[in-house]
Symmetry: C2
Subunit: 367 residues, 2 copies
C-alpha cells in the first residue's frame, strides 16, 4: 500500500513492543515479535513467535522481515549473529554491546565527549583497592550487566561495605559509580535514521520512587533542552545510532548535565509523548528503524505521565482517573506482581499550570 | 487488572473496528470482532471471528462479551435478536432500526425536534405523485437502506426523471429529499453512557468530493458548535442512545443547522480526533459502551484530516507526507480498489493559521 517496508521484527514482546506495534500498525507496517513469554503484552497487536530469543526458526522469521528492532538491550549475542548481514538490525550489535555493559557504556560516553559520574570498573578483587577514593568516598556498586530499575545495585561508603557488596553480587564484573548530588533527573531521546538524519524528542523531568520511575513531566521551553540535545547528538553520531536512543541525565547545581544511563530504545520516561499532540517515541523509533522521514518530535502540549506499579484493582480509583480531564490510560494486559509495571496514565493540559494542578490530583488517585 | 469490563465485542471488522480496537486495548479491554472478510483490517489487533454476522457460533462468542458495539448500522436484525437480553448491545436495536432507514430516521429526527431537509417517503409508485413539488421542485432520491458515500442516490428535477430514477433503483423504498442550498457541511459526535451521561465531541467542518468525504477541519471556537450540541443532545436523549452517535448537518445561509444524516457510531469525519491532543472518537465510543466515565472530548489543538481514497503507491508522496510537520499517517492495511478508503492522514498544528498552511501542502501530496 505504501513504500514503507511492510514487515517490522521486534526482539521482545513486552509492553514496549506492544506500544511499538500499536504505533507501527497505522504506518502500514506488519509486526512480528520474538518473545518466550506466552502472555507477552505484544501478542495482542502483533504476530507472536512464542520461542526463546535464540530459537532458530524464530530468528529465521525475523531475518525475513524488512528491519528488526528491539525493546531491551540484553539481546543474546547469538541472536544478533543469526540476524547480522541478513536483515538490518537497528540499533546494531556494536551499539548494543556497549549499552548493555555499564563500564563499556561509560567509557564510550566519555570517548564521545559526554560527561558521566566518576566511576571505576571492577573486574577483580584487586580493582576494589582505593576504588572508593577515586569516586569521592561514597558510591553505588552496580553489576555491569542485567541491572535495571534499581536491581543489582548497592550503596557503599567504606572499603568493607564495598567488598561485602561485591561479594554479595557474586564477584561479577561491576562498576563503582561516585554518588552525585544532583538537582533533578532528566531524559531525552533521539531518533536517527539509516541516513544519519537526527530527530530529537523533548527534555523530560523524571521523579523516581524506590529506584523505579514514578512520574515524568514535559514542559515547553526547558532551559536545559539545548544542552541535552547537544550531548545526545554527539553521542548518537559517535556511536552511529540507527533507531532510537534515550539518555538519562543528572542535572547538577551548576546546570551541567552528566549522562547517567543510556537505553538504545524507547524508554518509560518517554511514554508521555503518546498523548501530547506530537509524534510518540514509539512512532519515532518505528520511523527511524524503517527509514521513514521524521522531524523533531516534541509534544505540542504540556504533558506528564504517572506509572502504575504493582497496583491492585481495588487500590486505584480507575473511574476517578478516567473522569479526570486530560488523562489517557495505558494498561499493558499483564498480571499483577509486586513492583511490576502494569501500565501508565498520560496527562495533557492546555497550559503548564493546569497540568501541574491535574497532575497533583492524578497522583492522589494512583498509589 | 481494572474494573473495566475486559471483553468488548464488535459487529464488523473494517477500519472503524480496527481503530476502535486500537483505542480499546490501552484501556485494558480485549476485543473480539465478528466479520466475514478474511482480510478484515481489525484482524491485526483483535480476535477475529471469521464468519457471517448471523453465524450462530460467532454470535454465541459475542454474547459472552461484557458489551457489544458495532462499526456499521446495517446489522442484520437476526444478529441483534440473538444478542438481545444476553449482552448489552450499544447502541441498541430500536436506535439501529431507526438510523438504518432514511425515512424512519428523518421522521424520528423531526419527532425529536431536529430540523431536516423536506422529504417524502416513497413506498409505492403512487407516492411519486406530486412528491417533487412537496420538496421544492429539485431533489435527491435515495434508497431508504444500504446507501453510503453517495451510493444509491440520484439527483432529480422533474417528474419523469424521478420515476426513471426510482425504476432504476428497483422500485425499493426510498426517500425523496429536497435539495438544500447550504453554506457548508459540519458534523458533531456525542457519546452517551448507559447512565445517560453525555460527552460531546467537537464541531467539524467537512468537504466532500464525488460524494465521499475528502477533508475535515476542526478549529476551536466555531460559532455553530453550541447549536449542534443542543440538537445532538436533544436527539440522543429522545432516542436514548447508549454508545456514540455522529450527526451530519447542513449549515444554511442564516446559520441554522439541518440534520442531514445520522450514524450510530464513529464516523470518518471524526478521525482527526485521534491526534488532536484529546480523547479520540474511538476511545469515546469504547468508553461509552463499556460504561467508563468520559468528559467532553474536543481536541486541544487545531487539527484536520485528509482521506486516502483509491490512491496507488506511486500516486502519493508518502515520504513527503511523513516529512510534513504535524502529520499522522493512518493506513488500514486494505488492498487497493478504485474509490476505496485505504487510510487517512491526520494533521495537527499549534495554531489555526499554521494548520491551514500545512493542510494546503498536505492536500497537494494526496491525489
Amino acid at each position: 500500500m505504501t513504500p514503507v517496508p511492510p514487515h517490522l521484527g521486534i526482539l521482545g514482546g513486552g509492553q514496549l513492543a506492544q506500544m511499538l506495534s500499536l504505533a507501527a500498525l497505522p504506518l502500514g507496517a506488519r509486526v512480528t515479535v520474538l518473545e518466550p513469554d506466552a502472555q507477552a503484552p505484544a501478542r495482542l497487536c502483533a504476530a507472536h513467535l512464542h520461542a526463546p530469543y535464540t530459537d532458530r526458526a524464530g530468528l529465521e522469521a525475523l531475518a525475513a522481515c524488512d528491519a528488526v528492532t528491539l525493546e531491551f538491550e540484553n539481546v543474546p549475542g547469538e541472536a544478533l549473529s543469526a540476524l547480522e548481514g541478513r536483515v538490518p538490525v537497528r540499533p546494531g550489535r556494536a551499539l548494543l554491546e556497549r549499552s548493555k555493559h555499564r563500564a563499556r557504556e561509560k567509557q564510550a560516553l566519555q570517548a564521545a565527549g559526554a560527561r558521566t559520574a566518576p566511576f571505576v570498573a571492577i573486574e577483580t578483587g584487586a580493582d576494589l583497592d582505593g576504588a572508593l577514593g577515586q569516586v569521592g568516598g561514597r558510591g553505588l556498586l552496580k553489576t555491569s550487566e542485567l541491572g535495571y530499575d534499581g536491581k543489582g545495585q548497592a550503596r557503599v561508603s567504606d572499603e568493607d561495605g564495598l567488598r561485602a557488596a561485591w561479594q554479595q553480587m557474586g564477584r561479577v564484573p561491576c562498576v563503582l559509580e561516585g554518588l552525585i548530588d544532583f538537582e533533578r533527573e532528566v531524559s531525552l531521546a533521539v531518533a536517527r535514521g539509516p541516513g544519519g538524519r537526527v530527530a530529537f524528542g523533548p527534555l523530560i523531568e523524571n521523579v523516581h520512587r524506590d529506584g523505579i520511575l514514578r512520574t515524568s513531566v514535559c514542559l515547553e521551553g526547558d532551559p536545559h533542552e539545548a544542552q541535552a540535545r547537544e550531548i545526545a547528538g554527539r553521542v548518537t553520531a559517535a556511536w552511529d545510532l540507527e533507531g532510537l536512543m534515550t539518555l538519562e541525565f543528572f542535572q547538577l547545581a551548576d546546570g551541567e548535565l552528566l549522562v547517567n544511563e543510556v537505553a538504545p530504545r524507547v524508554h518509560n520516561s518517554g511514554h508521555l509523548t503518546q498523548d501530547g499532540g506530537g509524534v510518540s517515541q514509539f512512532e519515532a523509533q518505528v520511523r527511524a528503524v524503517l527509514g521513514l522521514p521524521l522531524a523533531d518530535w516534541r509534544p505540542l502540549l504540556p504533558c506528564a505521565m504517572v506509572n502504575i506499579i504493582g497496583v491492585k484493582d481495588q487500590e486505584a480509583d480507575w473511574a476517578g482517573i478516567d473522569a479526570l480531564a486530560g488523562t489517557h490510560l495505558h494498561l499493558y494486559h499483564k498480571g499483577w506482581r509486586a513492583g511490576r509495571k502494569l501500565g501508565h496514565v498520560n496527562l495533557v493540559a492546555p497550559d503548564a499550570a493546569t497540568l501541574r494542578e491535574r497532575l497533583a490530583r492524578l497522583e492522589r488517585l494512583i498509589p
